[in-house]
Symmetry: D2
Subunit: 421 residues, 4 copies
């Protein structure tokens, strides 16, 4: 019995132990299974990353974001962490959802990744001489806010100042910085001490910090800099996480938001992808096995976005987005993640914790979210079958409650934008 | 005295000869000069040619076109011939203006240039791997209507069928076909006999025909094919129009819609442009001198479009669009054209005829337009000074009448779209 | 019995009819089959078409050409027609072979294709900003000799003058001009009358003329211009040769140098190539069927060149060069051609004539070559099995004689250049 | 009086103090000035950096290097430090010169910059789809030797092993590693501790170490890693060297190999270059002023190479190489450097030390080179006018002695390769 009042859980008890207030509306979930609302440590709600979508939907990013937050919620993800996106529209939608004006998954957001330029910059989508400088700058400007790639040329103190200014003026919920480049993923962005300065600014402002990391050495640097959560910490190029770093992760119980592909996808990848790309995925998997074996704290993380055919078939998108059970389609990706880590041997309860309590703790939101405990927000799923029996049972969802109210899942998304096609 | 009733001119007389009906509203233009409304043989009202504008304004091309038609009208151009643009929006705006629902320059339109693909195709703006195939096809499709570049591979009969189908279904006012490529401007598109077949289809449907021509040989082919109007017939690469072709143009009084640059621009061009580009402009000018000397029938033609900084600074735009008195800015370009041909020695009355009667005759609309004669549409300008004294006096316009009504020029454009910036 | 003296055939007779001079060296070919030396209507001996090969082997093109001529000869092709290549090196090697200083297939050459720029120009290999203008111009200059793409902008008379100058100064054996572009294969290059002028210049100089043609209309134009041989006349885009043109080809017995793929290749093409590319190959085949059915005069033509892995894997090479039984590898391609047309139903004797007598007649060299007749050059193959029984028997070649001398096939190529890898 | 025997200086004295052996050949330099042979801390003898030169001269890099070493020597530069080039050819020429088989400037070489791929890789010249993978790999392979960009993905230990292997097998004279990318000049390549590991490997092998640095933070990291010489340490992006780093440089007397432009060039740069490029040069200059004011130890460093028009006009070369007194033309660049630092206020004797003693000390070759002292190699210039009076007097060189022998400067370069054009 889970007793809910206003937006929160009042009490939790099994069987008849709990006195139910007379006026309570009773939802009979007997024979069903109640789990906390699921969380995703890494999504991109504004999926409009291709040049044409960025242009076509300019001025409508908020609609795009709302739709995505609803697609996630419909699938049982009651909280998402948006780790890179256009700041103002994300803030606007987050606040609208939090005020109850709009339905959608609860959003925590980072805005820009400190050290990255916008999506139409050299390290992301290449625009060559096809788009004019003015439009490119205008769109990138919705991401950058003076914490873009220019920071790589600045002194530690100036980087610190910029990050502080960004935190103060942006309304972000957590800080993400680049420890490596994006396409230029072998390169390091910031030195040890600059990374430390960035993390310190986040902590001074009461925010958690995480880094975009893609190499063994940048993973180590991020840890030494004090990051609270290792974002896609299992992405380490052709080689696995070095032992010394793995030891630190395990010993300090550092949460690793780890990408994961299902075996179906991996089989396809081996057959169809260029060997370095395929090798990179093998490393993800090897690292996941190591982390699971060592009992490290993995978090559900998907990079999930509204991946329509138009996005996936863009000529600059890698072939790898076209495989079966591709891991990044919002609304589906969290199921695939749970399946993938189960296939690698993660215990059912650990899978559940990866998507709930551990994730809430890593992001320091566990006072409000992540478990079914009195005083916490009433985010929960009613499942028709036991998720600890079979991970596929997360798909058999009878009802989704967020903030104490049942979600009208059939009505979502309210307005079709990217999914309209 | 010009007596106007409904949309048309009732009678024209000098001095007191004309009895003025009692109920007539009298506009005192004494001391001023009345000329027919000006016409431009070649404009592009949907200036959204750059990839970003095509995307940003998709769904709003009609607004773009309306604005352009109003910019032209405000400057005294009461009739324009749109020689390449998105068919459906052009038709919609043309009809709306003709029905009097919207103010704007009177539009005659060709839709696509038969044999050209849309603006995001290899022969126009290059999009490489920056834009997805779907969006490119969707936008190009608004131009192509099965009379695109694929026609170059088809038999004469099939080309004829396609052109016939296009004429029947499109609602175009005149037919324009490619005699040469656009960027690939040395190449011929259609053989003599295919060109003839295309022109015959136009004539069979009661339409005039013209070709996009850029070489001496394609100019000759177009003439032999029976074109009614030689569109930018003075563009012939590095060499001038051969004598034999010039003789034919003069003898048959074929109207040549001739591009023209002012001396100010030409001086800049010689100093700042690559020598082949500059040489091309020299050829324009040499051809114009020859045509004027030989008494050929030139028409005012500008390629005019709303040339905002965003358009002109696009990386794929040539340096040549950035010179002073650049000849293609709608609303200004017709003044510059008249100045340019005057500088080359064209007589004042010929300049006026180029922009009015001769142009109307070439397009076969002289029953309605082009002169101030009883029965014609009442399109006229009241100038404050004699345009036959100084070509600059066309700028000193006191009033513009179109279809018998004075235009509220201050109020144009009604809605700023491209010019908003 | 074939009696040979000096470089020529003295007499031919069957059985014991022929009195053999006493001093004659007797080669016993009893039980074997003697056929004229094979000919290929279209090869490119200087296969160095990729930017890197053009640069690496600059200064050594003659070596490259010698090797290719030897690779062809070794495989029984005693005469080749080089239809596009660097003029001076080709002339030098042709003359060296003709003087007997070097072994190799007898070369007839066209040098440049009139209207084409060199191999590093926009219509062939794209070099972007990777190679400097100087080196690009220098290499292209070895092809162009003032009859390049610039001719498309010139008047008929000037084109005629240029072609005449080229014929007089170059030492070419036959004239080839572009009726269409290369990559820009839909575009026509020259008008009817300019094509006629080009062909007339060739004929006035006693040369045969042919065109590069890739569309139905350009094929017709070439025929009307008076071309003696239709080079890859079966390449007509997505549609087959129109009936009217097919009738003319058949009625006038115009020789069609027709590309052909084996059924093995075609099966692969349907499965692996983009549909327009695959469709193009289907058209080749459909045209071949029509031409064979109608009894048109096909010629063996392969575009053969030394197609090493380095050439075939160049990133600008289409996927289509990577199929099994790819039709353009010199030394192999003529066998595949004969196999391919046999598979389409061409009679065995016709296959042989395509590669010998008909080809010699088309190129107007039949006074010297193409049959085993007294007075002709003694070019012949001794085959171990009857080629009229099975087309594969052309591969079972016991000996190759050229100009009355047996070729030491084992020793060819004398010096490995491109084939060294 | 400088007494020389064999390759070395025996004694140095002023006036009549020195007893001259009877058998000595006496060169009368009275009224002239003797200075040690000049040194350049950074040249690229194999200037064949553009794709076309790399291909054209493949197999002849040794000739290219010899020519460059002779061009340098002719201009008075008796010792050069080649900081990035093809290993094997550089080693071969270095050894040939050292054995006295070939004349040329004495070469010390680094081979590859650890962490950089070869010249046809993404961070240097872009080759797109113009050159095939095979040729690109083959040429880059002459630089990389398993210490290329792949190291950025490896663990510290593995990087250490690779560097050790490279040092042991290569025959290099000093070690240079990348602290930042080349075109991607904002990015850091190696973490603090990996940089330290690299420097330690160099030191363990008795080599000096230096880094390619382009940002304030990478400069600091390099210093902390223990680099012996700060290669182009004055290149720090838009901002000058931070005070804390400047203090360290001054306090530890760290040698800074500093690029320098003359005022003539700087004036041109301000007028003609994009503002970020121009701003970068301003920073060089500001840093130089600071370093000179603070008495830091600057070294003559030029990046000098044989900069022929073909190299400078390559489309991927920045506009900045085309200014007057461009600082990187070997044989001229050291004069310009000395002029440039003089213009910034460096004292004449400091200028001389920058090019001689200080440079020799920084590279740890001062036991043999850098001053005119007994026991050192007899490398010296006889100047016609006092270089301490006017820096231009280094150009007035009457004679160059290297290893005790006068150089026949008129005869250099012995064989013209790149300078042939």
């Amino acid at each position: 019995v889970v007793l809910v009042a206003a937006e929160r859980i009042v009490s939790v008890a099994s069987g008849a132990d709990l006195p139910v207030p007379e006026q309570a509306e009773i939802i009979d979930a007997s024979g069903r299974y109640i789990v906390p609302g699921l969380m995703d440590a890494n999504v991109h709600l504004c999926a409009a990353f291709t040049p044409e979508l960025l242009l076509e939907f300019e001025g409508r990013y908020e609609e795009v974001i709302e739709e995505a937050a609803q697609v996630a919620l419909r699938a049982g993800v009651t909280t998402v962490f948006d780790t890179w996106g256009p700041l103002r529209p994300l803030v606007a939608v987050r606040d609208r959802i939090n005020r109850g004006e709009v339905t959608g998954s609860r959003i925590f957001l980072a805005g820009n990744i400190v050290g990255f330029d916008g999506p139409l910059s050299a390290d992301h989508f290449k625009v060559g001489d096809v788009l004019g400088r003015d439009v490119v700058d205008r769109i990138n400007g919705q991401w950058e806010f003076r914490v873009g790639r220019e920071l790589l040329l600045l002194s530690r103190d100036e980087v610190g100042r910029r990050v502080r200014g960004y935190i103060e003026s942006s309304g972000i919920d957590f800080l993400k910085y680049a420890a490596t480049g994006h396409i230029n993923s072998e390169f390091i962005t910031f030195s040890d001490r600059v990374q430390r300065a960035i993390v310190e600014e986040a902590h001074a402002a009461g925010l958690t910090a995480q880094a975009h990391t893609t190499t063994p050495e940048s993973l180590r640097m991020e840890i030494e800099a004090g990051a609270d959560l290792l974002q896609h910490g299992n992405v380490t190029g052709p080689e696995v996480i070095p032992d010394e770093t793995l030891d630190v992760i395990v010993d300090r119980r550092l949460p690793v938001a780890a990408f994961a592909n299902t075996q179906t996808y991996m089989k396809w990848a081996r057959a169809h992808l260029d060997s370095p790309v395929s090798a990179g995925f093998q490393t993800w998997e090897k690292n996941n096995r190591l982390l699971i074996e060592r009992g490290a704290r993995l978090l559900l993380t998907t990079d999930g976005y509204i991946s329509t055919p138009r996005v996936l078939e863009h000529p600059q998108m890698g072939e790898w987005v076209r495989g079966p059970e591709f891991s990044m389609q919002l609304g589906e990706s969290h199921f695939l993640w749970m399946q993938a880590v189960s296939e690698l041997g993660m215990a059912p309860m650990q899978v559940l914790l990866s998507a709930t309590r551990h994730l809430a703790e890593a992001y320091d939101v566990h006072a409000e979210l992540g478990t079914l405990e009195p005083g916490k927000r009433a985010d929960l799923l009613i499942l028709e079958a036991d998720p600890l029996e079979a991970v596929g049972n997360y798909r058999r969802c009878a009802a989704v409650m967020k903030d104490g109210e049942f979600v009208d899942r059939e009505g979502l998304p309210v307005r079709r934008v990217l999914t309209a096609e």
